[in-house]
Amino acid sequence: MRIKKSSFIWLLLVFLEVSPVLRAQTDSTPSREYAIKAAFLYNLTKFVDWPDNKVADSNDSLVIGIIGKDSFGSAFEPIQDKRVKNKKLLIKRFERLSQLRSHNEPDQNKLRQSVETWQRCHLLFVCASEKNEFTDILKSVAGHGVLTVGEIENFVDGGGIINFIPNKEKAVFEANLIAVKEARLRISSEVLRLAKRVIKEEPVDSNNK
């Protein structure tokens, strides 16, 4: 098959058209799992009502906090500046609790400040890296109207509100209605009916307060 000269010109044009412009690497491309989870969190906020005092305090932003080793990368980029419930979305990232604790400060200033910021988040996402610390995290934000979402086994049993059950295949989640009530939140039943498991009654073991 002889290649004509015109084909060479086309081929050259194609290469010029797509010639790589190496840009500075910012966040890495997220895996599909975290792209889906990010979309889920964004969508979820539309179905949640926060208590009135939280709404008043938050100065026009809806804060999503992410604690721990974060695999989201640039997953939230497309919605950086979108508005939900008339508030601008703000993504805040926090280091792992174990790292916060390891800073050798006498008064644990950094830890205290982080906890205060967590309490002001609307949604707090607890990454899988916090599997040994999540109960402490949940305790520290209890009563501050924070929608806690995790991806750790037993997260909802430990008082978390929504949890992505660790799963290789797709986003399967469970919910804890008691925790919803304690945080004085309201979550639409449209969300709850999609959950694989919903904790409704008081768990027998009440050591999770």
Binding site: M1, R2, I3, K4, S6, S7, W10, L11, L13, V14, E17, V18, P20, L22, R23, Q25, T26, S28, T29, P30, S31, R32, E33, A35, I36, A38, A39, F40, Y42, N43, L44, F47, S74, A75, E77, P78, I79, E153, I165, K168, E169, K170, A171, V172, F173, E190, V191, L194
Partner: protein
């Protein structure tokens, strides 16, 4: 598969006759121009760079929780379709249901560039212009949950009623068009089809299904799934099917002594059992099907309209997979599989010389295979931008037996066993955010022919976040099968072919994919492949005996274009067009049974709220040449399916009309057929219900 001693098989396999060389237009410039136009258009319409995942933010929670995390076949680990170094198509259980695909051939018939043939015995898959009459799906690798299903006597894969998984138990089918790219070994020449089955988490409780269709076809299924806590689940299912078949007419047999061409021997029946269990990191998949089909076409010179003419195919597959994360950046997978295949064919044959009273003997042949596969695969990402996969696969063919006999004599009784192993390594190197290179190599050793090494190279480039350009090169091989190596009838008409080399393919492909406005994906691709050393039968002039030899070279060039998308109000469409020219390299002749144009449209839309769905399928195929030099007609087939969910709680009913316009169409017959063209069914109806107990 039987050679009667009364007749030599004299029809040449590629149907090469003495027609003049055809004029071939240069295809590559066309492909390049198409890609250029698409690239320019996409630049024109591009606004700001947007991530490829934008469309996810438009989806509802309900939709998001249904999305699978991985397209795992193309590189044997989790990957986005746009990052996979191949042309990938994924068909989900939801699409299977809404488009009314009731068998695996229906599903595969919707893939761009694929075409399904049926000869009233088996279903055959044509890929990118290649499916010669007489080929038994040996050049496509069919997997169930990653385990090979190609049997080990003829290396054939059986996708019709012999396939051991009920279509309702399929979670999704992942299809790679093009060579299996050195990760898969034998048979992955033209495509890899991985059928991934549902686990109990998708089918909890008891589910019953019943189906009635034309020609007194009945099918029933019972499935039970249970999830035990977080760590274990079990699914068991059984399906039974029986079809009386219709009376058929074959003009080739239209004479008073052969019932004026009428025959009623198209009955089909099978029993299937399936189980899938997972405990911790282990997944066990077990499937068994025993199937039996009456054959009305009277192939292999068998007596016309003798109801004893039939084939039976029994398949068993038991596969165990173990997956484990070793650390944040490494994981291991181990697999062990046991497979078995038993085929038997019965061909009443008239041994009397012409003019004398018939002397009918019951000629029979059988294949019996048992095999055991193991694989160990390691995935590691030791550096941020290097993903490594390496693995070792081994195959032990416990038994590869072929037999043929009739009441008077045993013509063939061959018993074999053999081994092979393969070692592969692949690196995916992310040079930058936008550019990734993939390089892979695999070496296989067979104790029949020695070794073969095959490699793959790919460059995947994202000029913008919603556009992907892939440049691919791949090699693959097909080892000579036990049938090709050892079949003989005692050197009466055919001798064994002991010096066969593997067939090989080299494939060059360029793919441009773009996500248009967040809910649609367009693809244009151009490919060129060359197959060497294709194994065919020929008559050795030295002794007049038939033998298999590495005889032929085929090359093909083509383009595939596709568009899939979701529109408002739940309408989903998938449309594709492909053009291919596949020819025999020595003569320049277009291949037999290689239609140039294929166009497909599938759409599904909700009609009534969210409970009633309509699915429309349209398939166009241009004409194909037959073995005797004629052509089948162009045809268009339309299917219409209505699905009604939750008629009452837990009950789903669907009804489908297939070949809605009663189009008459057919496929080229093979060397064993008297028929030049084998015509297919007209309009048929199917009604199905599924009831879930909760």
């Amino acid at each position: 598969m039987l050679l009667s001693d009364a007749n030599l098989r004299s029809k040449p396999f590629l149907g090469v006759t003495s027609m003049p060389l055809s004029k071939k237009p240069l295809l590559f410039p066309l492909v390049l121009r198409g890609i250029m136009v698409l690239a320019i258009c996409s630049k024109l319409f591009a606004s700001q760079p947007t991530t490829g995942n934008d469309y996810l933010f438009e989806m509802s929670l309900e939709q998001l929780i249904e999305l699978p995390y991985d397209v795992s076949t193309a590189s044997k680990y989790q990957q986005e379709i746009s990052d996979a170094p191949a042309s990938v198509t994924v068909i989900t259980a939801d699409e299977i249901r809404k488009y009314g695909y009731h068998t695996l051939p229906d599903i595969l018939n919707s893939v761009p560039g694929f075409y399904i043939n049926y000869d009233r015995n088996y279903h055959y898959l044509g890929i990118r212009g290649f499916r010669r009459p007489g080929d038994y799906n040996t050049r496509v690798l069919v997997l169930i949950d990653g385990h090979r299903t190609n049997e080990n006597v003829g290396d054939a894969s059986y996708i019709g009623t012999q396939f051991p998984v009920d279509v309702d138990l399929i979670d999704r089918v992942e299809i790679i068009r093009g060579p299996g790219f050195s990760l898969y070994g034998n048979n992955a020449l033209l495509a890899v089809v991985n059928v991934i089955t549902k686990g109990a988490n998708k089918l909890q409780g008891l589910e019953l299904s019943g189906q009635l269709a034309s020609f007194n076809s009945r099918r029933g299924r019972a499935t039970y799934g249970k999830v035990f806590g977080e760590d274990a689940q079990l699914l068991v299912s059984a399906t039974g099917y029986e079809s009386e078949g219709q009376q058929l007419y074959f003009k080739e047999f239209d004479s008073p002594s052969t019932f004026n061409g009428l025959v009623k021997n198209d009955g089909d029946k099978f029993g299937n059992f399936f189980a899938k269990a997972s405990v911790g990191n282990f997944i066990l998949t077990a499937a068994h099907t025993a199937e039996n089909k009456g054959i009305p076409t009277a192939p292999w010179d068998s007596v016309f309209a003798d109801s004893r003419t039939q084939t039976s195919d029994d398949t068993t597959l038991i596969g165990l997979t173990y997956n484990r994360n070793l650390s944040d950046w490494a994981s291991v997978k181990a697999r062990a599989v046991y497979g078995s295949y038993d085929y038997q064919g019965t061909w009443p044959t008239n041994n009397a010389p012409p003019g004398e009273d018939p002397d009918i003997v019951l000629a029979q042949d059988s294949w019996s295979g048992r095999w055991c596969d193991t694989e160990l695969q390691l995935f590691a990402q030791p550096l941020e931008n290097h993903k490594l996969v390496c693995g070792l696969e081994s195959r032990y063919n416990i038994r590869q037996n072929q037999q043929s006999w009739d009441e008077m004599e045993v013509y063939l009784d061959d018993h074999r066993s053999s081994q092979s192993w393969g070692l592969y390594l692949q690196d995916e190197f992310a040079v930058s955010d936008k550019l990734t290179f993939v390089a892979g190599i695999r070496h296989d050793r067979y104790d029949t022919f020695g070794g073969t090494t095959n490699s793959r190279l790919a460059a995947i480039y994202h000029p913008m976040n919603n556009t992907t350009l892939k440049l691919l090169y791949g090699e693959a091989f097909r080892a000579p099968s036990a049938y090709e190596l050892y079949y003989n009838d005692g050197d009466y008409t055919q001798k064994a072919s002991l010096n066969l080399r593997p067939e090989t393919i080299k494939n060059y492909e360029i793919i441009l994919e773009r996500e248009l406005n967040k809910k649609m994906r367009a693809t244009v691709s151009g490919f060129h492949y060359i197959m060497h050393d294709l194994i065919d039968q020929y008559i050795d002039p030295a002794d007049g005996l038939l033998v298999f030899k590495n005889l032929n070279e085929v090359k093909a060039t083509g383009i595939e274009t596709g568009l899939e998308g979701m529109w408002g109000s739940g309408l989903k469409t998938r449309v594709s067009y492909s053009y291919v020219e596949a020819e025999d390299d020595a003569t320049g002749q277009q291949l037999v049974n290689s239609p140039n144009h294929l166009a497909k449209l599938n759409l599904t839309t909700p009609i009534l709220e969210d409970r009633l769905f309509a699915g429309l399928g349209l398939l166009y195929s241009s004409k194909a040449r037959t073995l005797s030099g004629n052509y089948t007609d162009n045809f268009t087939i339309v299917n219409l399916v209505l699905t009604y969910e939750n008629v009452i709680k837990g009950l789903e009913i669907s009804a489908g009309l297939y070949n809605l316009f009663d189009t008459k169409y057919g496929f080229p017959g093979a060397g064993e057929h008297v028929q030049d063209i084998i015509y297919q069914d007209g309009r048929t109806l199917m009604i199905k219900f599924i009831y879930r107990f909760k």
